[in-house]
Symmetry: C2
Subunit: 285 residues, 2 copies
């Protein structure tokens, strides 16, 4: 049975939503000139996604539909439940808002993570930890110090990210995360109503493609850099994290400790470097 709605079948509409992450709604708008008008407004879609490991729910997160398998993969990586591509046998939808992850035969979630099952709960990676100590994930610090990005490349990244976003996304209704190669080529862009989800999706894609560690890459987020963002980058081995907006104190401390370069307020021509400045070639922009 197919239901039609404004000329589109429900499944077509769902597909459209998943492709663009937006829905439409009827609203009353007050324009700048003070005139009221009825209008249709695009809205960021927000729906819950339940992530199951075999038959156990490990997380429910509010996300923008689409790329759910990547979100699940990125989340499990950031939680240190999986470490490498081969740990995951299959990720599939049980229903629209439920994904099931099957681990490879013989792969057991690490005890330290497994202990937190039932309390792991959000893509933000913090929620659900039953104690503050548990927040510190155990990923090795970045080793390499040889990688460097030049100034011209760094300054080109925000515009590249914006160009890949939809018009709608640029209005600020949705977050974006981009993974760049060190020479500035954009490899993966993902968008989501949740900043952490956008990062999980981008990193999850790279994980599923067997590209980890991303040790010659940079992660750029369209918003702020909180602890979670740099932590997720570390899980993927990313040595440089950049953000268009502000970092938090914990993000800065975490990056300094783990040998990650942290750049924020990246709004060309200006930016700030908060940690491990040695990876930025400061001349010739």
């Amino acid at each position: 049975m197919t239901y039609f709605h404004r000329g589109k079948s429900i499944s077509e509409e769902r597909q459209m939503k998943e492709q663009h992450g937006i829905g439409a709604g009827s609203i009353l708008r007050r324009r700048k000139d003070g005139v009221f008008e009825h209008a249709h407004d695009e809205l960021t879609i927000e729906e819950p996604l339940e992530i199951r490991l075999a038959d156990k729910t490990v997380a429910t997160t509010m996300r923008t539909p689409g790329h759910d398998e990547e979100l699940a993969a990125g989340f499990l990586l950031a939680e240190a439940i999986v470490r490498k591509r081969g740990d995951v046998a299959k990720i599939s939808h049980a229903s629209d808002n439920v994904v099931v992850v099957d681990l490879a035969a013989g792969v057991k979630p690490k005890l330290s993570s497994a202990q937190r099952f039932g309390t792991i709960s959000s893509s933000c990676g913090i929620c659900g930890k039953n104690s503050i100590e548990a927040i510190r994930q155990s990923f090795p610090a970045i080793k390499s110090r040889s990688l460097r990005i030049d100034l011209t490349t760094l300054l080109s990244l925000p515009e590249q990210l914006r160009e890949e976003q939809s018009d709608f996304a640029r209005t600020g209704g949705i977050h974006a995360a981009g993974i760049f190669e060190i020479d500035g080529r954009l490899k993966i862009v993902r968008e989501d109503i949740g900043r952490h989800n956008a990062v999980d999706k981008a990193i999850g894609r790279a994980f599923l493609d067997g590209l980890l560690p991303l040790d010659r890459h940079l992660l750029l987020v369209s918003g702020r850099a909180s602890l979670e963002i740099v932590q997720k980058a570390l899980a993927a081995g990313i040595p440089i994290v950049a953000a268009v907006s502000a970092p938090s104190t914990l993000a800065v401390n975490f990056a300094r400790k783990n040998n990650q370069t942290l750049i924020a307020f990246l709004r060309p021509p200006s930016f700030n470097i908060y940690a491990h400045i040695e990876r930025v070639i400061l001349g010739d922009a």
Copy 2:
């Protein structure tokens, strides 16, 4: 023992941090004219807060220190663990980043909430739900339809909120939530690195002061309106929610269903009304 740091004792520094929610760090800045300079930068403080109910941890959230008791109270209200002021006997710090809530004698957390103990996990109110069904909280819809806000008042709110924020907050490093009376008087403003925390703190303050239900009030948030925001407002009985940025689809659907007025992109002179327009008097601005 007291440690000194740039002329301030640690405890003084902590007090300063808690008052302003900011820290300072040494950075390298590239100015708009391309010149690099070493600078001190203000950062939003982000630290984990563990919320305990008696001896059981019910949530750990990343928050900006300060007003932790309010955050705990607002969180427990939004989770329907407490319903009225009298349910809470005492909220106190066990340490800097741990608050303990003692319920009044004879008050048992509702079973439906208690069942989720160990999975409730974040101020966002979504994380930790073990099933998608559990996401829908059971708060009654707003009953009154008589309350109305006039246009001039509505348009004055964002500027009022901004005036109460610190200079630092205005740069976007921190979220703000304000509770206004229907005539436009600002009652409570709270700031936090997490949008949901800012709302929990503002509503938690009102809860602790015995002001609920806030049935003649409006909640304004400095960012986007997700499901959680309107849900938390409903828990406090707030009939009108306004946001400076975009709403999500679920927030709109939730507000429509629960008889809440939802206004977003409130950027005077323009704004959009997404739900229950009847509470806005459209003339005379």
